[in-house]
Amino acid sequence: MLYFDHAATSFPKPIAVRNAVNESLLYYGANPGRSGHELSIETAKKVFETREKAAELFGVSEPGNAVFTSNCTEAINLVLMSIAKQKGHFIISDLEHNSVLRPLFELKNRGIIDFSVAETFAGEPEKTLRSFEKLIRKDTKLIMVTGASNVFGTKLPVAMLGKSACEHEVLFAVDGAQIAGNEKIDMAKENIDFLCVPGHKGLLGPMGTGMMITKRPELIEPIIFGGTGNFSLFPIQPPELPERTESGTLNVPGICGLLAGMEAVEGKEEKIGRKESKLANFIFDELSKIEGVKLFSKKPEYENSAPIVSFVIGDLSGEETARILSEKGVAARGGFHCSALAHLKAGTEKRGLCRVSIGWPNSFGEADKLVKIVAEAAKN
């Protein structure tokens, strides 16, 4: 199989990640933060080590402000539901995933908040910035953007938006689903108050892992309530992160795998991202030469785009295109990619698109095979 679905989840995972998961089941098998025996405390130390690594990787000083979630969607919900306590107005981009759009839509329907969608302009960061700034109101509480579109790869000017949000005294959150692990993210330098990441995409950890990392822990409110291993005699949640938002037993095997994944990418984010971009560029160039292939994403240069190429063959829908590729051994994703806003923006809300997304293990040989398979499919 040719796996080109890394924007959904990276596969295969590095050997170090697989080993870390196996080892966790052997050596870190007790519940952290619950008991006093050696195995429980050793497991808690491993969990803390993972928080330290995340804090280091994303430029925050306090490891306890790196909170584990089940995925990036839960991390995003944690931020949005917390800031919604302040009510007011939110701004998002027109490329956001449903994990951002749907919670806000729900909060608006409940009459709690209002939100606006800012138009983005691929390759024009200043124009994009102005588009956001025009929407800022006196009651704007939060700007949240994706680091890169999961449909078209388009990167947003995160650092510029962060600086602007800071100047306007508006909180700034980033959905790092498509950039964590293949681009250096520095929350301090980029003025990011809340960073939401999946553990299982560019960070190469197992599925079922995610994190919310913050510089503003005092603003985060739990969305799940229950046992945390502390303040056991009180009916209220503990006051401090991370326990405040981590009710229930943690996914320790996933967390151990995530630690190994973060160690694998640490310091190499740009190198990985640039290698992926080269392959994405090659695929884009070659697909653009094939009659009958219609490309919808722009040429994926590293500075402006995540390594994603979206297209359809002939009059086929995105799903049909992906199905034909699947029959020929290619794993790509067809459809709407949980991104209504992005597809509406591109006018692809009826047919959808087939998305090819590149990851760390892909090679030029695989990219070449993919192109040949698409060319063959386009002939028929």
């Binding site: 952290p32 933060g33 008991s35 006093g36 429980s40 405390i41 808690a44 130390k45 803390f48 928080r51 306090e62 490891p63 306890g64 945390t228 291993g229 502390n230 303040f231 056991s232 005699l233 009180f234 503990p238 401090e240 991370p242 326990e243």
Partner: protein
């Protein structure tokens, strides 16, 4: 003989973090849990030996909220 203290904390995260801070600074320290000693709802604490004031300062500087310090008997 150096005195030993219990630093009673509110979570395992604080305990693990605090232990690392103290070990890094040359103190003998380890995490343990005893609900009969630490009544603050989690039981986690650090047992450490050395100068109390210095250890307390290091823990507070590291952002650790200490509920109580008791001398270990």
């Amino acid at each position: 003989m150096m005195k030993e203290y219990y630093f009673l904390l509110s979570s395992v995260t604080s305990a693990v973090k605090g232990e690392k801070i103290l070990l890094k600074n040359g103190f003998r320290a380890h995490v343990l849990k005893d609900g009969s000693v630490n009544p603050y709802g989690c039981g986690y604490m650090i047992r450490a030996s050395g100068e109390k004031e210095k250890m307390t300062e290091l823990l507070k500087k590291g952002g650790i909220r200490i509920n109580e310090i008791r001398e270990a008997k």
